[in-house]
Symmetry: D2
Subunit: 347 residues, 4 copies
Amino acid sequence: MIDRSNRLSFASDYLEGAHPAVLRRLQETNLLQTAGYGLDEFSEAAREKIRAACHAPEADVFFLAGGTQTNAVMIKAMLRPWQGVMAAETGHISCHEAGAIEADGHKVFTLPQENGKLSADAVKACIDAYRQDENRDHMVAPGLVYLSFPTEYGTLYSRSELEAISAVCRASGIPLYLDGARLAYALACPENDVTLPDIARLCDAFYIGGTKCGALFGEAAVIPRHDAVPHLFTLIKQHGALLAKGRITGVQFDTLFTDGLYDEIGHTAVSAADRIRAALTAKGIELCFGSPTNQIFLLLTRAEAARLQEKVALSFWENPDENHTILRLATSWATTDAQVERLLEIL
Amino acid sequence: MIDRSNRLSFASDYLEGAHPAVLRRLQETNLLQTAGYGLDEFSEAAREKIRAACHAPEADVFFLAGGTQTNAVMIKAMLRPWQGVMAAETGHISCHEAGAIEADGHKVFTLPQENGKLSADAVKACIDAYRQDENRDHMVAPGLVYLSFPTEYGTLYSRSELEAISAVCRASGIPLYLDGARLAYALACPENDVTLPDIARLCDAFYIGGTKCGALFGEAAVIPRHDAVPHLFTLIKQHGALLAKGRITGVQFDTLFTDGLYDEIGHTAVSAADRIRAALTAKGIELCFGSPTNQIFLLLTRAEAARLQEKVALSFWENPDENHTILRLATSWATTDAQVERLLEIL
Amino acid sequence: MIDRSNRLSFASDYLEGAHPAVLRRLQETNLLQTAGYGLDEFSEAAREKIRAACHAPEADVFFLAGGTQTNAVMIKAMLRPWQGVMAAETGHISCHEAGAIEADGHKVFTLPQENGKLSADAVKACIDAYRQDENRDHMVAPGLVYLSFPTEYGTLYSRSELEAISAVCRASGIPLYLDGARLAYALACPENDVTLPDIARLCDAFYIGGTKCGALFGEAAVIPRHDAVPHLFTLIKQHGALLAKGRITGVQFDTLFTDGLYDEIGHTAVSAADRIRAALTAKGIELCFGSPTNQIFLLLTRAEAARLQEKVALSFWENPDENHTILRLATSWATTDAQVERLLEIL
Amino acid sequence: MIDRSNRLSFASDYLEGAHPAVLRRLQETNLLQTAGYGLDEFSEAAREKIRAACHAPEADVFFLAGGTQTNAVMIKAMLRPWQGVMAAETGHISCHEAGAIEADGHKVFTLPQENGKLSADAVKACIDAYRQDENRDHMVAPGLVYLSFPTEYGTLYSRSELEAISAVCRASGIPLYLDGARLAYALACPENDVTLPDIARLCDAFYIGGTKCGALFGEAAVIPRHDAVPHLFTLIKQHGALLAKGRITGVQFDTLFTDGLYDEIGHTAVSAADRIRAALTAKGIELCFGSPTNQIFLLLTRAEAARLQEKVALSFWENPDENHTILRLATSWATTDAQVERLLEIL
């Protein structure tokens, strides 16, 4: 029943279970009795720690099971029926969530991107085009901006880029939502200059990823201004995203936000990725998209790709032309020095 | 952070985390690397054990995070846009899932019930009324039957009752779906004569509850006939119900269906409930609805109810009249002999 | 191609085309060129006349093609995703609109009724039950009241009944919506004491029926307070309910609200119905529900019903028991004295 | 109330009411009594004539009020929840129907186009990309092709182009749907080689436009193979698209398909457009997109555009650059020789 293949794997950042500290805490608290639906003390403690980490003492915080679910609930909650959400054409909601946004009745405006990133100009252009169109009353209104941070290509917005997008949004009265599925791997990145308080200041809602950042599963949706998204508890329930044993996510996020564990998780993954990046670059392998986070995209000939995958499991990303392949390599909180060493030897 | 109140609680069957064996297995397998999205070996092993337990070797089995979500996805998958689902007026989908079925576009036909149970006659009457109505093309068509087993009142269908409902469904070409959120507590009940193979034989889809029956969270949706519900993987993803680390539910259900743990969990809860029921009856306290499973409904005067709740936490259920209150008492896999003894002393 | 049967028909109030004055005006204006989508002068003139008739100078007025469509668009526009609409269990949206409300994501709370009418008490009870329920955050919130006037049984709310319902709504912050598919036949009724200005004063939105009251088709949705329902133009378009040639409904409603035609249409139908009611009562035929408007419900034995239907086409309504049948007889703007005379002879 | 401006207008093809023959027939049949909901003899006669014109004796034919509504209902009826519809990025459903398709839960795949037309290659590429994607189970499946004929740019598919697209669809098991809002103006076009029987042979569903082709309003949805789209009557009702007085559309389409009126309407518009095109070309004005139908797109400098619009009303289409404007000129069944002469003088 257990995968006994010895093949090294960097195929994704959700290959293992939870960070041992998280699992240990679940174990310790397992037989304590608590209220359900997130009304327990662990969830409340986790909320307080997240509010503190975000410098957002009034924030509403909800715990959900996964990223697609969190995106769907939050976007539905923040849009009205005549509105749609703007996202990069490579955004997760645009292509890899099986039409969850449309299933809830909303159009995704797919905007041009560079290395997975939207620009303030592209957002402004979309809003302006709508507002200047004589036929706009026959069209879906842009009603929300969706960003991922890091992006699907592992890239980061700088603080000034995020401020520019936020400024466009606020000038237009359009909220900004940030998908932080891999947020730990952004925050821990040496070249990153965006902090959790920056995100809480610049966004109207965002989520702090747990599933890919040390939890068994779970995401923490944060709305910095209390009640800015009304009736969210009921919408979460309606979407089937309310856990009966909310304590399970509560305990996990409480642990992730105790003693700097969320930071540590990020640093483990990013420093492993940095060592691997250095080795790949030294070998002359071209890295795509400029990701500084825990995902690395290798441009290889098909033959090189096939040879490499015999020895280490990576993810197929795309074929940019007939002769080349882009593979994705991901580190995580679970990546060990030994694994990195083995990989460097293979390389 | 920990609930240090000494008050005994029988308020629900999701007060604790997971059965220790489940948590232990999560611990043991934690650092093994597996594929995501339920394609891992643990999930596959769990599927095989569930197929075996159901005598349904061709069954499709999917793991989802919670009950409301599972109901919503399965009902959406089994209905066409012109159809609605029949349920008891007390059914969970009728009143306590925040309109999840309607949010997906479908009407819930609320049928009369007795102690939470539908009858084959009530189902047939609803279908006949539609089919004989001259204006039926202007109306929603009954397209699915939803049952809960045990019901929201803890009651059970007998095998012959379930066969009668299934016969009506099949004669009408309408599928039957069973919500088994507390299934372990039905199967373990001495007076129950319905087995998992019976359910797989009589229903077109059902789910085996994990959240309330020993798992941290998670439900196993079973479709006895392979591919009877097409494209379900994508619908699960679209609904945000696909776990990236599907292994987490796989490991849990694999454990629950190893060495009779799911049965044992049921017996622990039901035998505790039986001892409590006997004591309550001996005390002359009226029990409502006739539940033989892990839920007990006590009819008390308001004063009695207040006094009892000072010493033991129960759930408020409803006020049948101005002087009385019905409280719900629930046991679970986690109920200990010591807790039962303490309760009996209080009584 | 033309129905040459000589059988007299009172089967419904939409057997003919349009009132001749309406058709004449369509003819006269046919080749004038106008803007589309209701931005034309005829639509604007009709809006002004409706505002005047309602004593609601700031009202928003939109023209839609039919009643089910108007109900669906208005109810969707007035609810948020966590809310549902309260209606009589016999309300048109509850049973005869093919699940249009649920298809848009909302639950219909079916409230008890008497002769098709809701009471202020029943509305208050539904709202109170929700607001007092400890689990209300897991439930759909009542968010709108739907009334039909006249009801599906042809009955009328008195002004004081409507005021009582409106008072409950306003005290609860819940808007009131009135379906006036047959409004002309209420307003013209001698026993009616509710005026268009009353409706505009007491409701947050309503529609003035055209399809059954003299137009080829079309309904006028009225929102007494300007912009109380935002972005309605776009929602109408999104629902496919925006006519390219909005002038067609504009011309029709302009005509209906010129020189008292809408009143005249109502009086023609109601006075014919009154003559028929008197004759039926004189014959000892029992009339059901107490409808004083253009619909009459006859309680007959099955044999009597069959004999009557040989000579005059009526609508089957329901079978109250094994021996009896209720038939519906409807008059309209098109009912002639000759038709009434022929019917009285048959009787 | 009547537009008394003398300014000539070619702003759209829905400036007037109905073709006089249509209105006359409504007049003649106005007081005949018929059944509702399209079950009348006029609707049935119209269906028979449409079946004959399409060489599709088994076709299902439904009459709806407008184009956005027809598209929404048909696309919803032909897709399953995990599927989306492919359309040109300029397709009416992609941008000018206020998100109607997404509001019903479906993604619109916007494909590249040339002069408003999709190619068989683009359709095949979209289907292949999906089917070859390893992650396709996480993605929306292409489930329908939407074409407009003529396109939004007035252009036409040749028979061989339509056959190629249809062949791709059939090889993939994906139905083809054609939006014929302006179908009369395609069929009457000298360079067109596609007939109604071709459309019925190559498409799985389509609609014959009435609103822009001589009717007051109304479109005829045609499903060549009986019952290929099940329960459509109920879906039409659910969408609020079922007219109570279905006769109104029945009479109109019966008239349009009697004595070649639909053809005549097309020829009137196209021959007027051809004369105007010739004059514009002679004047050296550049025409865009190559439309041979009733719509003409003029590329003008902004100064030229402003001067022209003082004398004749045209529609603003778009600004291709800072100095130029594209205006749209449309003829219709109502365009007279005198209007064309006046326009030619102005030019």
